[in-house]
């Protein structure tokens, strides 16, 4: 083809390896996700708490500031597992809000405009398609969860007058693991629910509802039947338990309501599996009419 002559000509140039096409999907997915101001505003909001926590770490390692704050300062400015648990929890829930905004933009547009037959007619498998979208979401959510968490951890290690990082390595590893588990769950859930809902606004609501409504049901089950197993429907509580165990923080939990780690992991894995089944059913080049 030529713009001036308007003739067709075959392409004879370089071709990229097939496995790299997933990155094209991820790149275009990211561009789509960031094409709206809502995403930018949410992203900025997500970065405000880390700035506050950074200032707290600075103050806690500043002798003059500690002296000025006296005994209150010792309690408020304690940089330990509980402090980083607070960081992780806040960042994770902000990431949830960001995911509920981005995930529908990544997948709903393709479904609504019936773009899948064209997209999947290229050298992209259905798994590759989901992986590309997942990578876009994962990358965005990483920038507001484990990346700032680990940067704060590194800054505390640097600013502390005594060797701190090596003796508290469990906190760093725990934050990384906890954030990755959370991102994996909400990314899959977000993509799966978005693939089933046509309207982006509704999809955002549905993502929140799927987290919060079972939590309410779980609380009712726990209250009425006096059993801790109702909490297995409560994702926020399950994640709190998991994060506390990962960061080795034990000071806030009522022992009677403790859930076994294996039960929590099983429930989260079930959620991921269900999301994958939903994606497998929905992400197809063609609808198969049975019967």
């Amino acid at each position: 083809m030529s713009i001036y002559k308007h003739h067709y000509r075959a392409y004879t140039g370089r071709v990229t390896p097939i496995w790299t096409r997933i990155f094209a999907l991820a790149r275009y997915g990211l561009a789509e996700a960031w094409s709206t101001k809502i995403t930018a505003v949410l992203f900025v909001i997500c970065l405000i708490p880390p700035v506050g926590f950074l200032f707290t770490i600075y103050l806690s390692n500043n002798p003059s500031a500690r002296l000025l704050m006296g005994t209150v300062g010792t309690r408020v400015l304690a940089i330990d597992g509980s402090f980083f648990l607070r960081v992780l929890t806040i960042q994770s829930w902000l990431a949830m809000a960001l995911a509920s905004c981005i995930a529908p933009r990544l997948i709903t547009l393709d479904i609504v405009d019936n773009a899948l037959p064209i997209l999947l007619s290229h050298s992209i498998s259905r798994f590759g398609y989901v992986l590309g979208k997942y990578a876009a979401l994962f990358a965005t959510l990483s920038t507001v969860t484990w990346v700032p968490c680990l940067l704060l951890f590194a800054y505390q290690g640097y600013a502390s007058p005594v060797p701190w990082a090596a003796s508290n390595l469990r906190i760093g590893v725990g934050m990384l693991a906890g954030a990755l588990i959370w991102i994996a769950l909400i990314s899959l859930l977000g993509l799966a629910l978005s693939s089933w809902v046509k309207w982006r606004g509704v999809a955002t609501g549905v993502i929140f509802a799927v987290i919060l409504v079972p939590a309410g049901v779980g609380a009712i089950v726990t209250g009425v039947l006096h059993t801790k197993w109702g909490l297995l429907l409560n994702v926020p509580v399950m994640m709190s338990y998991l994060w506390e165990r990962l960061l080795d923080v034990h000071n806030r939990i009522d022992n009677a309501l403790q859930l076994p780690t294996m039960a929590i992991v099983t429930m989260l894995a079930l959620g991921c599996c269900l999301s994958m089944v939903m994606l497998n059913t929905r992400i197809r080049a063609r609808e198969v009419v049975r019967g």
């Binding site: 083809m1 075959a10 547009l109 773009a115």
Partner: protein
């Protein structure tokens, strides 16, 4: 397998020789069952044409065959091969060299035309810069150059058809699969689409597989046709050869000693039927030509006032294929 993969991705110079010897699409007892129903029933044949037409009534299995060739459906038994690559096992390699224009609307409406075509070209394996360049070229080529920065969902139906063609062309495919390319187009837009397809065919580097309900579209663009009926092959033939082999139907309008003339013509080995008004219908054997008839007419002082040689149209071929009710030929020569 590696060298075939490089062929399909357009990096080998031996491409044409290879395709001509092997055929574009090879079906070997291909059976596809979906939801317990047999949609394609033991299809066998080799499609070698530069432009292959896929004809058949609704529910004949055209779209299922295209989806199987794209690797969307797995063969229940038998095989389908494109450029000697298995359509399911080697679908990633095959898709790299295929441009697909689906029947229904299929695009990302929120993107501008050039952004969408570039995206598709990158997914097909073009590096980002080349993809952008080819996207611009493809859009100008199909006639959407002036509207390439508009969002796709603001395009008219005809423009949407054209952008589907542009994205299928942008990466320079070896095989272009067009599913109902003139669907919903007005006569002028249809003519433009047909002209584009003819031009692509003439360029020679792309094989075409065109599915359509419209016999005229296939007639104007294809040199080979595969006719499906109820999931079976009703006919597989080279349109040009069929036309050449059926040039023997002739209608004459004569004046003079018609009876004597018809007896002499029968003597040449022609089948002949006489009608009132000097009209004669003939089926000529291969070795008889029009000049033989003129010679006899001259000898017998018969005037030939009108001579009409009737060729088989694609419609005749299609209707005959549809008439083969009950037969199950795997490969029918008309």
């Amino acid at each position: 397998m590696h060298w075939k993969s490089s062929y399909i991705q357009g990096t080998s110079g031996q491409w044409e020789t290879y395709v001509n010897s092997m055929g574009t699409v090879e079906l070997d007892a291909l059976e596809v069952r979906i939801g317990g129903r047999t949609i394609l029933d033991r299809l066998s044949g080799v499609l070698r044409g530069q432009a292959i037409g896929l004809l058949g009534p609704n529910g004949a299995g055209k779209s299922t065959l295209i989806n199987t060739l794209l690797g969307f459906h797995r063969a229940s038994s038998g095989t389908a091969r494109i450029f000697d690559l298995d359509t399911y096992r080697d679908r990633a390699e095959i898709r790299s060299g295929i441009g697909y224009m689906p029947e229904n609307d299929s695009f990302i409406g929120n993107m501008s035309g050039v952004h969408f075509v570039r995206y598709m070209a990158e997914l097909a394996g073009l590096p980002s810069t080349e993809a952008l360049e080819r996207a611009h070229e493809a859009l100008f080529y199909v006639g959407l150059g002036e509207v390439r920065y508009r969002k796709v969902n603001s395009y008219s139906l005809g423009m949407k058809q054209l952008i589907k063609l542009a994205q299928a062309l942008a990466h320079g495919p070896r095989l272009l699969i067009l599913d109902e390319p003139t669907n919903g187009l007005d006569p002028i837009a249809r003519q433009r689409m047909i002209h584009l397809i003819q031009e692509i065919r003439k360029e020679g580097s792309v094989r075409l597989l065109i599915s359509s309900h419209l016999l005229r579209d296939i007639d104007e663009t294809c040199d080979e046709v595969l006719i499906l009926k109820s999931g079976r092959i009703a006919a597989l033939c080279n349109i040009e050869e069929e036309r050449r082999s059926n040039h023997s139907f002739m209608e004459l309008e004569t004046a003079g000693a018609t009876d004597k003339f018809s007896v002499s013509v029968r003597g040449l080995g022609c089948e002949c039927a006489c009608f009132s008004g000097g009209r004669i219908k003939l089926v000529l054997p291969e070795h008889i030509e029009a000049r033989d008839l003129y010679r006899i007419a001259s000898e017998q002082k018969v005037q030939i006032r009108k001579m009409h040689v009737r060729r088989d149209s694609l419609e005749d071929i299609f209707l005959r294929a549809m008439d083969t009710e009950g037969e199950r030929p795997a490969h029918v020569h008309l």
